[in-house]
Subunit: 154 residues, 2 copies
DNA sequence: TCTTGCGGTTGATGGCGTCCACGGCACCTC
DNA sequence: GAGGTGCCGTGGACGCCATCAACCGCAAGA
């Protein structure tokens, strides 16, 4: 991804509905050139689509939690993927270094949903125990910034 | 937010660049009606803008970590906000129940960035100790879904 | 030097965003 | 019940935008 594409992405991060013409003016290209680059980034998977930013409560996700999971033996990412993907409340799963084996980010509509979801996570063969931290307040939640991309001038 | 707006948002979550006409067809409204609703949701803050979905590595964020922080005494969300907001690598901060007082999500360009960022977090008066989990692999990372909105009568 | 291919521009056209005026509908007041 | 009022969707008009095809310049390689 070259410097121009990064500028285009930076622009789209700020305004995902910006017109190609507007972006073109900002980066010094014509609208069709911008479109061609964006389409290419889409097929290459460098960007995966466009969305709207919504506060989770607006979608009915009133409660969220981080669930650290500890496994018997070791667990492969693919197993984790297979086991947890079917649970809709699971928003994100990362394998991590440190005490826990993975951190699961859960969003649910109510406390009972959280309870049920954690239970669903526990009842997998390899999961030994879990440690749940309920989110009390979102203190900071930043939209992803266009990377400072070591050595670059925005 | 009524049922129609939720359908509109659901549509925009899947495709943030969908035309108003297309959305209108999907929800049974005309294009101007959809635009008026979207604009209203924007000024009301129910949605906060549009973006592109980018893989973090494309932006130069090669490494991320979860940092649990433990404080001396108790800490207010506003203090946390004030102290951590200036650190650009801090993507997200939640106060949580359980052992730790807060969980900080950090994205950085390199391991040394992580180290520096964790150090920046530690050197705050109230922070007693931290526990860092480096992300090894992102197993699941779902775009937010339109809520199932428990118990609603349209 | 000639060729080949990538990437940008130009120009044309159909569709879309965007604004305005109008009309129905529910709710409230007299 | 009549009339007023505010909300919300529709229809139409206008200008801009997306989109595609054709063309052009330039760099790399034979």
């Amino acid at each position: 991804m070259d410097a121009i594409n990064r500028k285009i992405v930076g622009h789209l991060l700020r305004d995902g509905r910006a017109t190609y013409q507007e972006i073109g003016d900002a980066v010094g290209l014509s609208a069709p050139a911008v479109k061609r680059r964006v389409d290419l980034m889409l097929v290459r998977g460098e960007i995966s689509g466009f969305t709207v930013r919504v506060a989770p409560e607006e979608l009915g996700w009133e409660i969220e939690a981080y669930v650290e999971i500890f496994c018997r033996g070791n667990i492969s990412p693919s197993t984790l993927q297979r086991d947890l993907a079917p649970i809709p409340e699971v928003v994100r799963v990362d394998t991590v270094t440190g005490e826990a084996d993975a951190i699961v980010h859960v969003m649910a509509g109510s406390m009972t949903d959280i309870e049920r979801t954690v239970e669903a996570i526990r009842t997998h063969a390899k999961v030994d125990k879990t440690r749940t931290s309920i989110v009390m307040s979102r203190v900071i939640d930043r939209p992803p910034r266009a990377g400072s991309m070591n050595g670059e001038v925005p």
